[in-house]
Subunit: 150 residues, 2 copies
């Protein structure tokens, strides 16, 4: 459904910029200002893979936190999003796997909470049309192994 | 199309985490570690709106930079992504408007470059199923006015 700005007017507005490409910095005027670099270069700096992982983890966990609060549950949810970069038919693509842990509730309750959060979280909504994004409940987080693309 | 990890194996892997909800921090282990806060609270910190804006601006501009390099063009592209938060039928939603400026080329060339970049950029691909995301070529960036949601 197209945006309905009358029915749903913006409550908050921000802007995030990149002017000088990948080997430079990305910034929010007057706010976060982050050095960036190519993920396959051995150089300090964040990258688009990390920014979108931070967006999904923060948004999903904020939504889970709101659900916990509404049900007077102690906050125990955690979200770790694994982001992988691979070639594609054209250019590159990302694979996102958001792993959710909610140790404070039973499996059935946790499963329902993750399902609700995925339908409510604005970042998950923006990504819902992509086959490359997965949100799953885990008992333990997957240990991350870096890839030597040498 | 579902992920085909055999045909397109990951070249790079990272993880981005949030453990303690919106009023805490989000981080990449051993890398970027960012204070977070609710966008409508008058508190320092970044938020999911800014993270996804940084992801789209950085990724689109890196893709434009690669197109410029391939055509031996001087790098002049810039991307500023406006992110707005609004209510939705369920929970909240984001509106993203990525504004692209490429002063170093004529309008026709710039239009073709933006179209190509949008089809190549991994973050734009992840968002391509959403009606809430727009990428547009501009002569000048829109001045950002904050919203007093008081």
């Amino acid at each position: 459904m197209a945006i309905d700005r009358e029915k749903f007017p913006p409550l908050y507005r921000t802007v995030a910029n990149n002017d000088d490409g990948l080997e430079s910095h990305s910034y929010v005027p007057g706010g976060l200002d982050v050095l960036t670099s190519h993920p396959l270069e051995d150089a300090p700096g964040a990258n688009p893979e990390q920014f979108i992982g931070l967006a999904l983890s923060t948004c999903l966990n904020a939504t889970l936190e709101a659900i916990e609060k509404k049900r007077a549950l102690t906050h125990t949810s955690q979200v770790h999003t694994i982001v992988e970069m691979a070639r594609d038919r054209r250019g590159f693509q990302f694979y996102l796997t958001a792993e959710v842990k909610i140790p404070g509730v039973d499996l059935e309750t946790a499963t329902a909470m993750v399902d609700l959060a995925e339908r409510r979280c604005p970042v998950a909504k923006l990504l819902s049309g992509s086959d490359n994004v997965q949100v799953k409940l885990v008992q333990e987080f997957t240990p991350i192994t870096t890839i030597d693309a040498g």
